[in-house]
Symmetry: C2
Subunit: 137 residues, 2 copies
């Protein structure tokens, strides 16, 4: 008989916060090209990533209200997320971001060989796109 | 000739914030069983997930200091993350969490068939473990 393991497989939901959920969601659906799902709760935007993960954009005021069906949360200030892109994806995104008038805040080549570029979403969150690895295996 | 695509593959880094990084990191390395990497920057803790993703625990005071090598970020207040677990994983985690004296704040069965349990990390972030799906494909 096998014993079910208490093991985490990966991150299923990542959350970023934005007071203006709609404007921020347009950034992720537009220049970043993420696929939006219907958000049943009405308090945020939901995106499904190609690897099965989910990105949530929540209004921290509403997400932190007590008495919600799910446990309350909600952070203020700039958050951070990094998205992985495939080979050639970083160059392709650089072109698309420039066309959309989005300024690249920083570009970094990591010791692990990966390369990143950083932009800000409309809420001020630091958004990184990375091709390759920034951390050891 | 193929044209490189500006396409996001998935979330590479997810960040949670904690003033006491060490105490919070012990929660993720202990009861949650995540694998810690050496954090070269010294301002946070880094965990590698089995699917290749990375979880960062950062002190928001230090991560938001201007003049860092990477763009500044740092949020205050409770964040949220959901981790996927395999078949039987939720029951196994319930046993492990109880043994560690960690209270389950809420259990939910989703319309999509998935089941979740929620706990708090030492910094107050809402941590969800989910078996199956909470969102449409």
């Amino acid at each position: 008989m096998t014993h079910p393991e208490a093991a985490v497989l990966g991150v299923y939901e990542t959350v970023l916060y934005a007071r203006d959920v709609e404007a921020t969601a347009r950034f992720y659906a537009g220049p970043l090209g993420l696929r939006a799902l219907e958000a049943s709760e009405g308090l945020g935007a939901v995106f499904r990533l190609d690897d099965g993960g989910v990105l949530l954009i929540f209004d921290p005021e509403r997400a932190s209200e007590p008495g919600r069906y799910v446990p309350a949360h909600g952070a203020r200030g700039a958050g951070h997320i990094a998205f992985s892109v495939g080979a050639g994806g970083l160059a392709a995104f650089a072109v698309r971001l420039q066309a959309a008038g989005i300024e690249v805040e920083r570009e970094i080549t990591w010791g692990q060989g990966g390369r990143s570029l950083y932009v800000r979403d409309p809420a001020g969150n630091s958004v990184e796109l990375i091709e390759g690895e920034a951390w050891p295996a």
